[in-house]
């Protein structure tokens, strides 16, 4: 034991101006600090994830409250929240026989069988991998679709932006957009959370008559139903939102699902 300790003692006995001691102390402090940080981060992750999940649910509920008449409709239909279904993104069909509540996006993204890698050209949203399935939230009354909420996410300026896009029964008109989670610059990109900006979204169209996705954020004034005012000073956050929506409404995202709904209904 003493022999084991003696090099350590010798190291600490060195002068503080000694090169070995300087580099050694730097390495030692770095190692201990990074170990402390990593251990806390890993141990506390389950708690933090639970908090974030609760927050996401609260934001979706909050979005429902901003939609006029939605709560009444839900009351009439006798439901207190939206119905969750899993969608196979490749062909747009509903996944049957699986519990949507058990869907774990993080686990699916880790699993090569449950997700696909996106090549650089297709990956406009900057998400690298896409799960093969995604939950969608539906509100229907007597078999008629009233509202559909699509969870979307993509790279913003310095964080992943998660949002929920509510689309009306015509599958083209946006009912509302809710930013569920983001960590962009406070005062600039983070302004996508402000109610004033989110209020610009209802009534916009995601695609034109031919089905081409046209929705985008623009500088200056929005002039067509497909355009929404971007956030000034946050070009990359604005572009991130455009790309996120373009991706998730496109062929690799919910495109096939929306097409199927337009043709066949639920």
């Amino acid at each position: 034991m003493a022999e084991l300790l003696s090099p350590i003692r010798k190291f600490f006995a060195r002068s503080n101006d000694d090169l070995v001691k300087i580099i050694g102390m730097a390495v030692l402090v770095a190692l201990v600090s990074s170990a402390a940080v990593s251990v806390t981060a890993v141990m506390l992750r389950p708690y933090q994830e639970a908090n974030r999940a609760a927050e996401r649910q609260a934001r979706i509920d909050q979005m429902l409250d901003t939609l006029p008449g939605m709560r009444d409709l839900m009351m009439e239909s006798g439901v207190d929240t939206l119905e969750t279904r899993l969608v196979n993104l490749d062909d747009g069909s509903f996944a049957s026989g699986e519990d949507p509540a058990g869907f774990d996006l993080e686990a699916a993204l880790q699993d090569p069988d449950a997700s696909v890698a996106l090549d650089a050209e297709a990956d406009i949203a900057g998400i690298k991998r896409r799960a093969n399935q995604s939950p969608v939230y539906l509100l229907q009354k007597d078999g008629d679709l009233k509202l559909i909420v699509l969870p979307v996410y993509g790279a913003g300026y310095q964080s992943t932006i998660r949002a929920a896009l509510a689309i009306e029964a015509d599958l083209t008109t946006i009912a509302a957009l809710a930013i569920v989670e983001q960590g962009d610059t406070p005062g600039f990109g983070a302004r996508i959370e402000e109610p004033e900006w989110l209020a610009l979204w209802p009534g916009k169209k995601i695609a034109d008559e031919t089905g081409t996705v046209r929705i985008e954020l623009v500088r200056g004034g929005a002039s067509t139903p497909y355009e929404v005012d971007g956030i000034s000073g946050a070009t990359r956050t604005s572009n991130g939102i455009t790309n996120m929506l373009r991706f998730w409404l496109g062929d690799k995202g919910f495109g096939p699902f929306l097409t199927r709904l337009r043709q066949e209904g639920l």
């Binding site: 101006d17 000694d18 402390a36 940080v37 981060a41 506390l44």
Partner: protein
Amino acid sequence: MSLKHHLISPLIGNNPVTLQILGICSALAVTTTLSTAITMSVALTVVLCLSGGVISLMRHHIPPSIRLIIQITIVASIVIVIDQFMQAFMFEMSKRLSIFVGLIVTNCLVLGRAEAFAMRNPVLPSVLDGLGNGLGYSLILLIVGALREFLGTGGLMGVPLVSTVAEGGWFEPLGLMQLAPSAFFILGLLVWLVRVLRPEQVEQPEFRLKAAEDRRP
């Protein structure tokens, strides 16, 4: 210098904010409401105590040439750990404080006390010095936070105390109080007040203006 002295003196006599003018930037940012001020005070006090203790513990083995890097690394690790704890157990609060908890790292108060005190004093006085300075900082933050929230919204801790004009009462909230400049005004008035009560804190001017010589012919 008794142990008690380390704890008491930073409260008013040697207050880090009003005398040393350290940690001003966070004092502006988190004092819009009393509750954020309290959370920030607790977080900073804990960081000050821990960093003081850890740095004092290893002070004989910190090479002078890289001492600032080592101090900052230790402080940053402690801050990240505290931030993680807040995200896990005080989620709402951590969202409201957002980037400011992370910015404790750059709070000159923490590095200032590490460099000025913990580097050359034993562990117990260093922890007490951290605690004292943390409490001194907290005292100012709480005063500023309480004043700003009360004058700016007419309530404290989110509970309305006087009825505002908007609710049909008489109190007109001062919108300015919710903006950063008002913290400067209140801090300035506090510094003034403390120096009126304790004139020994007033610094001697470094330069005195000389009467200009009359050079006209």
